[in-house]
Amino acid sequence: MTTATATPPPTAGKAMRTVHFRIKRCDGPGKPSRWESFNVPIPANSNVISCLQWIAANPTTADGKATTPVVWESSCLEEVCGACTMVINGKVRQSCSCLIDEYAPNDGDTVTLEPMSKFPVIRDLWVDRTRMFAALKRVKAWVPIDGTYSLGAGPMEGPRASETRYKLSECMTCGCCMEACPQYHLQADPAGWETSFIGAAPISQARLFNDHGTGKQLKSERLEALMGPGGINDCGNAQNCVQVCPKEIPLTESIGAIGRAATVEAFRRFFMAK
């Protein structure tokens, strides 16, 4: 009995089928892209990551040439960290939750993997989403607490309000909403970030913190950042973002809420200025 392992063996008996992977590869910034294919055996419960792991251990292309392991980014493997986002069969999503039995149910089916196109490629499927984290600074996505000393509880909040904030707070900075957005463009140069369209996720984060009892202290600064170039006015309301968000965050609702708050803020400023 000591030989029993904590994981059951893969379903025995069934012959293992093969899925064909077409992967867009690139050796580094400024290098040309190329396609490589791999035939990957598919045990039960396979997903795109387990297939990439198999390729890493067996880096030989479908036509028998030795190659290098494919590079990709991942961490949690349960669709909660956002790291492994890529374009799979033309659609942006997390690769760890992409089950092969759903995406490629038959022997010999093809799965195509590409890096996201709105962020600079580091290597192969790994892209640099630093711009998304910079955007969180731009909208001051934090609660300005008085420090970490013991000062009692935070503001009381009803269950409805906390459930709304919880939903917004599930954003894992994955970038699907940017990849799908017609207004969001690749911008490799950090100097351009401040004036390019910021995308749906940080707008929704601004709403999250504006809705918090203490967070709202920075509301007018957040709105100011979103009223300038690259802010809320650049959104064309195409609603692609909300359709691809894996966490089903109500992005268009957030964009609407921030739009209205920005209008009120503009009026307020106009009359205060007089």
Binding site: M1, T2, T3, T5, A6, T7, P8, P10, P43, A44, N45, N47, S50, Q53, A56, A57, A66, T68, P69, V71, E73, S75, C76, L77, E78, E79, V80, C81, G82, A83, C96, L99, R123, W126, R129, F133, K137, K140, A141, W142, V143, P144, I145, T148, S150, G154, M156, G158, P159, A161, S162, E163, R165, Y166, S169, M172, T173, F209, H212, G215
Partner: protein
């Protein structure tokens, strides 16, 4: 004195809490992580975080009882004073997280909601849906970003820690910085730091498939151990009872599923082929409820894991004859489940294909948490009872008031320092709080507590005028470590194309290590099994000496980083298996079929592994546990023989509401 900086390695809860606390005290922080910190493993935590609270308090609970449960849960292997201090701080930590904006679940009146968790009869677990870790990590990530915006924290994301820089030899050594590598450019460089805080998490990947993130290799801890830091209770590895087995990892079904009423069962008839819903209640075997009427499905993890293992492997009663039992929530209202457990309901549906609101989940145990870790010390606080107490029962007056500062001395630079001055270990990477088993929802607490409480000690260490400033350490000390690490990389790159296929493939070596460690060094251990395991590890190390890389790129070479980690994991695996072999007793998660009882006489001691550079292996000794506050008692959780099952049921129902 020039500006003193602190290096924090790791951007999970422990590393971020430390960074925020240290930066707030005015000391600049350089923060290193192998991933953007917001994607750290802490994001996976589901169920919640424990703290005494007003409702539980009025039902007879107290910080002291939280402490008592943690010590009992850990089977008395943890030093007691730090645990007391942590339990005392827990309510303030929840308040602080609340102020940071964590969207904790709320009651109608707008107060923080609570749930039941393993190892306690009181509701003392605070939660944000079923993604509590994500929400806590984000709150700390936001505060970190705020300090980054002020210029007090500098992030080095996608940088891998390679080795600590030590000045001096043997017991005179102190830590003065680190050497790290940019995972994109592959540049290797040294960083000076007046103190280094390791907050690099657990080592689940040593066991192959686990519930951990892919970064949790234990590589960083192993490197510190090889450089001379001691490693405590290596053999104490938690196997979580309820996970979904997968091809790449085992996805956790949080204990909160049982906390919210989930029941574990198998059909009474072995191999019963009916669908679970069509099996009537009388023909289901709720084995945990039957064997543990007091705690039922909420016995601690090691116990639930062993019972599931026993039912499947020994009694061959698993679902469909396989290694699988049902975890059933279908008797609960689907909307309630969505509200309280939405995150994990989605995970199950996504990865297993069935909706657990309507179909019982199929689960099996998986490696989950590293109780052991880098050995750390502390400065005791003022609370020292004349004689240790017995069991703390609900409603008893705590023998200590709930003032902060009773277990550990606040601000003392020794708190959670390793044996190497200047080198600290916070969070899952240390061995301090959870003894031989961690109770659910205590890990997030210990991580944040370390950062906030022990972070102050780091600041005091850095400000100690009696210590030679790091800017006076000769550059040659740093250069030597940089050269050592560059040489390792060059050797690995040069290995490409050599070697004998699978035998020298790092991925295959890693896989074989995971298999042997899981089968010999987790749920059930024996002398023979562990000896074989050590033999296999020797074989793997020999093969690893000729490991051959499949990628020679000098840009973003992940194969190199992984292969290097496998070498370090093999070293740590040896300590884990050896300490398990030498601990000839059963305690908490460590269960030896050849020594089934706890042996306080010989083994109420922490195992301490010291790396021997001559042999490349662990010298293991057993050292005194600093107890003194509570007396050990048998850890049975009221296990019943087959008769007189329903003792306590009434009492429990009344006190646990």
């Amino acid at each position: 004195m020039a500006e003193q900086r602190v290096i924090v390695v790791g951007g999970g809860l422990a590393g971020l809490a430390a960074s925020v606390r240290i930066a707030e005290a005015g000391v600049p922080v350089d923060l290193f992580s192998m991933c953007p910190v917001k994607r750290s493993h802490s994001v996976c935590a589901q169920g919640g975080i424990n703290a005494c609270n007003e409702v539980a308090r009025q039902q007879g609970y107290s910080e002291y009882q939280h402490f008592d449960e943690t010590i009992y849960g850990g089977d008395y292997l943890a030093d007691q004073a730090p645990v007391l201090e942590m339990a005392n701080w827990a309510p303030r930590i929840i308040d602080l997280l609340d102020r940071m904006g964590v969207p904790f679940n709320r009651t109608n009146e707008g107060r923080r909601d609570l749930r039941l968790f393993g190892g306690s009869l009181f509701k003392r677990t605070h939660f944000a849906g079923a993604t509590t870790g994500q929400q806590l990590l984000y709150a700390l990530d936001e505060q970190t970003r705020r300090h980054e915006d002020d210029g007090k924290i500098t992030k080095y994301e996608w940088w891998e820690f390679l080795w600590p820089v030590l000045e001096g030899e043997g017991s005179d050594a102190r830590c003065v910085g680190i050497v790290a590598q940019d995972m994109r450019t592959m540049q290797i460089r040294a960083f000076r730091g007046a103190a280094v805080v390791m907050a690099t998490g657990g080592n689940g990947l040593i066991f192959g498939q686990s519930t951990n993130s892919v970064i949790c290799t234990g590589g960083a801890a192993s490197r510190c151990y090889q450089a001379g830091a001691w490693y405590g209770n290596a053999e104490m590895i938690q196997v979580h009872p309820t996970a979904i087995p997968g091809a790449d990892k085992c996805r956790l079904m949080s204990e909160s599923a049982r906390g919210e009423g989930g029941r574990v069962w198998v059909p009474r008839k072995a191999g019963d082929a009916r669908t679970p819903k069509s099996i009537p209640d009388a023909e289901r075997w709720y084995f945990l409820e039957e064997r543990y009427p007091k705690y039922g499905n909420l016995v601690p993890r090691d116990i639930a894991t062993r019972e599931i293992f026993d039912v499947c492997v020994n009694e061959k009663m698993g679902v469909g004859g396989g290694n699988m039992v049902y975890l059933d929530l279908t008797h609960k209202d689907p909307d309630y489940l969505t509200r309280k457990l939405g995150g994990i309901m989605d995970i199950y549906e996504k990865f297993a294909g069935d909706d657990p609101r309507f179909t019982p989940m199929k689960i099996f145990p998986a490696v989950h948490y590293t109780m052991g870790g880098m050995w750390t010390t502390y400065a005791p606080g003022s609370y020292t009872p004349a004689t240790p107490h017995g069991e703390h029962k609900p409603g008893m007056v705590p023998p200590v008031d709930t003032e902060v500062g009773r277990g550990m001395a606040y601000g003392d630079p020794r708190n959670m320092s390793t044996n190497i001055p200047g080198l600290y270990a916070f969070g899952e990477v240390n061995f301090a709080y959870h003894g031989a088993t961690r109770l659910g929802a205590n890990a997030l607490l210990s991580c944040i507590f370390d950062g906030l409480f022990c972070g102050v000690g780091v600041v005091n260490h850095v400000n100690d005028a009696g210590i030679k400033p790091v800017e006076d350490v000769p550059q040659s000390v740093y250069d030597a470590v940089v050269r050592q690490e560059e040489a390792k990389c060059e050797r690995l790159i040069a290995s490409a194309g050599t070697g004998d296929g699978p035998a020298h493939n790092a991925y295959i070596i890693g896989k074989e290590m995971g298999e042997v460690m899981t089968s010999a060094s987790t749920v059930v251990k024996t002398e023979k099994g562990l000896e074989n395991c050590l033999g296999k590890l020797d074989e793997l190390r020999n093969r690893y000496a000729n490991v051959s890389l499949s990628d020679t790129a000098t840009w973003t070479n992940q194969a190199l980083s992984y292969a290097r980690a496998v070498g370090d994991m093999l070293v740590l695996a040896e300590a884990i298996a050896k300490a398990g072999l030498l601990r000839k007793e059963s305690r908490g998660s460590h269960y030896r079929t050849d020594y089934q009882d706890r042996d306080d006489e010989n083994f109420w001691r922490a195992s301490v592994s010291r790396f021997n550079p001559q042999t490349g292996k662990a010298d293991v000794s057993f050292e005194e546990v600093k107890a003194g506050l509570v007396e050990p008692r048998a850890r049975t959780y009221g296990k019943q023989a087959n008769e007189d099952k329903s003792e306590n049921k009434q009492e429990v129902a009344a006190s646990a509401s």
